[in-house]
Symmetry: C2
Subunit: 443 residues, 2 copies
């Protein structure tokens, strides 16, 4: 058995929640992702586990005496921060306990009745931001994206000279991270002058874009001044979500020199509400992206044989678009691209080791994005900027509509799915956002 696997990964395990046994479902008993839910939009928020089309209410289960592996303090919260602060060993114990409880054959009728009371139909619930994000960092580890976007934004230097040495990143805006599902307001801002030395124009962003990323959440954390070594970095990752790094390309091009993106990103970042734990992803680990012949070997603080062998993730990703016109005509969304998380030049563990090498303190619940994950082929370019070549080659949708960038009413949906022979397939659920028009200019 592969290191880290246990009975929770056993493909033969089935749940007494019938919908969890659908082989095409995202949430079989082998997944058990964590999230924050409420019954209705204004209900009390609590920690839940997705199982089929139900949410298992952890606080309720603890109150009923079903959960004993973690304290009530850690799961009686309106965010996952306290739970993630316990660290991955505790998360693993909780996973084993929940897996046993939701098994096809839980112990005794009394338990079955008590469990049923803790299962809520997902369709009756509202999902919220998984953690109270105190710090959000976004990397730039998708090398195919860096090359493609670099060729458009800074053609004189498509792949930065530091790229293969430094896991490049910037701090993002924590306050505007939101659970996918809602609306995203088109930002106002300064758009670049039409010619060098000219005046910028002001108004609604005209080049609104998405970026397909994976986000991960910190567990445990480290004290200020104490770097996390690469060998222990993976144990600081609680789990993963899909992440949409909405981007205002016109604002970005004008504002970003010399200190990087700011308002072009800070208006919204969407995450899928379910956090697929690092444990659930164990079977889908894969080798890190191999270095090419001319590539430098990274510095020792970023290099670890085990991480190179197992630190990558094999997650199929896809992006769909539905326009307002399509929805009015009852037409289905169209898939516009696919990609895979394995197209990352740096592993999540390398990101953690780099982030902390200067002593920076990560805190439980912090969110870290990987950067846009494009693949090598034209069908795997993971932003509008890339697949419309900077807006110069609009894409034509099946109903005849054309898009260079996103228009009001456009709805973007991300999906993620893991598949591996011998294991149950698991999914991430959806990360959805619908563009709405800008506010009037304030006075």
């Amino acid at each position: 058995m592969i290191d880290g696997l246990d009975e929770t990964h056993d493909a033969s395990r089935r749940s007494f929640v019938a919908s969890a046994n659908d082989p095409d479902g995202d949430f079989p008993i082998q997944n058990l992702p964590l999230g924050i839910f409420s019954r209705g939009p204004n209900g009390r928020r609590g920690v839940g586990v997705a199982i089929g089309d139900r949410i298992f209410d952890l606080a309720g289960a603890r109150h009923a005496g079903l959960i004993r592996s973690v304290s009530g303090d850690a799961i009686g919260q309106d965010s996952l921060n306290a739970l993630f602060a316990l660290g991955n060993q505790q998360l693993r114990l909780l996973r084993k306990e929940v897996s046993r409880l939701l098994d096809e054959d839980p112990a005794g009728q009394a338990t079955r009745d008590a469990l049923a009371k803790c299962l809520v139909p997902m369709s009756e619930c509202t999902m919220h931001r998984p953690t109270d994000v105190a710090n959000y960092t976004d990397f730039y580890a998708g090398i195919h994206h860096a090359r493609a976007a670099g060729a458009l934004l800074t053609p004189e230097n498509p792949l930065p000279a530091n790229y293969k040495w430094v896991p490049i990143a910037y701090h993002g805006r924590a306050s505007s991270v939101q659970a996918g599902g809602g609306e995203v307001r088109r930002p106002l801002g300064q758009r670049p002058p039409l010619q060098a030395g000219g005046a910028p124009s002001f108004g609604a962003c005209e080049r609104l874009d998405f970026e397909l990323e994976i986000g991960f959440y910190v567990s445990g954390g480290n004290a200020l001044g104490d770097p996390v070594p690469i060998s222990g970095a993976a144990s600081h990752i609680a789990g993963y979500s899909l992440l949409n790094d909405w981007s205002a390309r016109d604002v970005q091009r004008w504002e970003m020199f010399p200190l990087g993106p700011f308002l072009s990103k800070s208006f919204a970042t969407s995450v899928s509400p379910w956090v697929v734990t690092a444990d659930a992803l164990m079977p889908f680990r894969t080798a890190a992206m191999p270095r090419g012949d001319g590539d430098p070997k990274p510095l020792p603080y970023l290099w670890n044989d085990d991480d190179q062998a197992n630190g990558g993730l094999n997650i199929d990703l896809e992006v769909s678009l539905s326009t307002a016109k399509m929805r009015k005509a009852n037409e289905r969304e169209v898939r516009i691209l696919t990609s895979n998380a394995r197209y990352l030049y740096w592993t999540p563990a390398q990101m953690v080791a780099h982030h902390t090498i200067n002593g920076c303190n990560l805190k439980a619940g912090d969110l870290i994005g990987t950067g846009t994950i494009s693949g090598p082929s034209d069908a795997e370019l993971s932003s509008m900027l890339e697949f419309t070549k900077g807006g110069t080659q609009p894409v034509t949708l099946p109903n005849g509509e054309k898009r260079s960038f996103l228009l009001d009413g456009d709805r973007i949906t991300f999906r993620g799915r893991c598949r591996c022979d011998g294991f149950s397939s698991i999914g991430f659920g959806l990360c959805v956002g619908t563009i709405i028009s800008e506010r009037q200019t304030p006075n």
Copy 2:
């Protein structure tokens, strides 16, 4: 009387706390800055007001029935977030109430005795980070710094083309913001290759620097999607601290293209522990930096006549250095530069309006830095990078020591002071940090 002034600014007002009446002191009754203190390093944290050499314990005063203007919830916290969430009108009422209580002639002997019980000697207290910083943004509004640093870091383009249109900023690291007074560990990191195309080296930062800035804290806040208009922006600023944006110049030069500074800044940011309220600074408002003949008029969302007339701040700033050798010889620190907050190209209100124009939500307690405030003369260059010309012209200290950048044991102290005819001078207290050596490289 100038708009916004009231009896709390009256220069003739004196306090019954004798040390507050020292004309050279930072904390007369006209100041009344807010901070988080504890009795001893591990005592319970609470909200305090500095008065002379004493701290007025607000939670204690409320418990004694002396404070009635704000709820116990807002001041019974271990950070200023809840108090700042009430907004500036409430902060003004609290200021008036505290000013009356600490007056030379408070009402009656009973009150005087009750007040005395709420006054703690500052020397017995430990100061902490004023707010639980959920979001930290750093601007680049010091135009003399932008020119001087730009000439060294990006000589081909010292002042970016967007500089006079865009209040440039980047997101900083919130978790490593700390109250000045403690130690700052020299970061490890990648240092740039000696020649283009070469390999970076790894080790302790060799070009460690400070940056002299002002920081301000958000009061109230705005909802996601709702920009704050320039006319109302000043009312979203609770108060100001000194801010040291510690910088690893070698790491910065290598990592910052294309997404901006990351590890070169995120190891530590120090703030002075006392927040001088926007109300206390009313008499020291001044005109914004005038635009030169060739300068563009900023876009309307950044432009407001009242802000241009009164949105600047006249705060004298200075930086002192003490080395380990100097302290061993009982030699006094040396002042290495002076500057003034009026050397900012963008006002704090313009920063708030810009920050939110895309709908980004500011939250009470968020910290916003102005960027390094250098002046036009050689004695006003507010980082080592600038006044040693990128380390090529080391400065010689009175005891013969030379410095290009900071060495272990160096202690940097910031001071800020406001002076204006007809008003009591007020100060910011100190923002201090002492450099300690790096950790060993993790494995």
